[in-house]
Amino acid sequence: MTPLTRGAAALALAALALSAPVTSAQAAGTGPLRAVGIENQYADVIAQVGGAHVQVEAIEIDPNTDPHSFEASPKIARALAGADLVVLNGLGYDDWAEKMLAAAANPARQDINVQHLLKLGDDTPNPHLWYDPGTMPAVAHAVAEALAAKDPAHAAEFRANAKVFDAALDRWRQAIAAFRSAYPGTPVAVTEPVANYLVAALGAKVMTPAALELAAMNDTDPAPQDVAAQEELFADKAVKVFLYNRQVTDDLTRSFLDMAKRHGIPVVGVYETMPQPGFTYQRWMEATTAAITAAVAQGTSTERLVPGQ
């Protein structure tokens, strides 16, 4: 054995010794529970339900890139491995997290995959589930149950918090209902299908060619005919509002933004993650809905959501 191979062998042994599987650092009953929301909107819901008894961490703060082309760090792996509860979106939107949770299997940890919670098939085309008014109440209740199982002493508090959260969404639901009755069948244009669940709830119609939305979302080339169709929507003022993904912009989406502005179509910014600081999930959704209403009613643009509006 040369000194070199001996050194390598020693290193290997050391690595193996250090690589014992990580178990939850959290012994039941001591200190706050630890939870992770892969996207910060889920982290916000966990925080609202868990209150002071849960310490929450968010991973994706601002995905201004494709989360798939990013490699998670040991810091993230550590957070996931040590968590008592993880909420992820599913539908391939955060499949790196799915992989990592599978790699760090831990029976003591509760994983809430929102796709599975809502019983959605893998072929569901739009992963931006949080824009659906039905999603977060279900998530909040599931989170409450999961936390209650971990920390039975505070179970009642968690369930009450979930009810409070659900009730706090009433203002948003009322705004949606008001829009539905005031502006039925409003035509809208979009870049990606980010807020399409909200558009559907508002009773509005997405006029953008579906192939174009997919091309923008998946970074493939759009067809010139589809680009032209979208341009026509703006030029003919065939849409009342243009929903623009603030966080993932490229040449395609920027050119649409320019076009919409040129033709005086009001623009509303929509987000992949919850804008911070100053927003809660409820405030964010209310602000978005208010911005769409203002756009349709008064033709005002809200390109960037600002808290307190």
């Binding site: 690595a15 798939h68 490699e71 040991p74 491995a81």
Partner: protein, 265 residues
């Protein structure tokens, strides 16, 4: 400090390192660096196709990689190898984009192929990596001497009766196998870094092939383990440290080689 890095990541990283060290040694010796970059990345349409038609991912990636190896080996007899490789690569990336555009729904997962998730390696992945990796390493060790001889001189290999075309195909297939095994863990782009850096330093330090091979493997292992430790300490992704270490090893090799091997002759 190690908390947060799973045993399966250590094991997967170590297997990929051994594989990359062995295959990379011959990649460097035979000057097949470009092929080692293009073959893994040429699996891009395979990932998209597997999703579109619901095929088994590993089988599709393997099929595409081996097909790529065959095409590059065949084309490089007609035209220069680097050109054949470049054209194959862009055709595959273009085809990947075509297949991607046929997919409905959120399908950006295919880009995961570029960077991989060493920390997301599951036990099932581990079996696959170990299986494919073992096959590739055994094949390399079987073809050790012919690969060495034809790396030294294609003419001398031909005289000794080594079938150059077949050997070339076998070697490119081995590179493709190694790439397929490494994809889920370190991704197409960093598998390549792991093949080039350690091997290029090893051949400068060692005068003999077997110790050179052993050093290449040892350096690759050190790279992966070091990258995991540093990533754990800093919270940055593993791939960053692997890529930078690859360049560092190459530069160190160049400096070590300057003493005795004439660059200009």
């Amino acid at each position: 400090m190690i908390a947060g890095i799973f045993a399966s990541s250590w094991v997967a990283g170590s297997i990929v390192a051994v594989l990359a060290g062995v295959i990379g040694f011959f990649v460097v010796l035979r000057g097949s660096v470009f092929a080692a970059h293009a073959l893994p990345l040429g699996a891009f349409p395979a990932v998209a196709a597997a999703r579109l038609w619901g095929l088994d991912l590993l089988a599709t990636v393997l099929a595409f990689s081996v097909l790529g190896a065959a095409v590059v080996a065949a084309l490089s007899r007609r035209t220069r190898r680097d050109i054949a490789t470049a054209l194959w690569l862009v055709l595959m990336l273009g085809a990947g984009e075509l297949i991607l555009s046929r997919l409905q729904g959120y399908s950006r997962a295919v880009y995961g192929l570029f960077f991989g998730q060493l920390l997301g390696v599951t036990p099932a992945d581990l079996h696959m990596i170990a299986g494919v990796g073992a096959v590739a390493v055994v094949l390399v060790l079987i073809a050790f001497r012919p690969l060495l001889l034809s790396g030294l001189s294609a003419d001398l290999a031909a005289v000794a009766g080594v079938p150059a075309g077949l050997l070339d195909l076998v070697f490119l297939t081995l590179v493709a196998l190694a790439a397929a095994a490494a994809l889920p863990a370190v991704g197409a782009l960093l598998a390549f870094s792991l093949m080039v850096g350690p091997a290029s330093a090893a051949r400068m330090v060692c005068d003999r092939p077997l110790p050179g091979l052993a050093l290449s493997v040892a350096l690759a292992l050190a790279t992966v383990w070091g990258a995991l430790l540093l990533a754990s300490a800093t919270g940055w992704p593993v791939g960053f440290f692997v890529g930078v270490a690859g360049l560092g090893l190459y530069v160190a090799g160049r400096l070590a080689g300057r003493g005795y091997a004439p660059l200009r002759r």
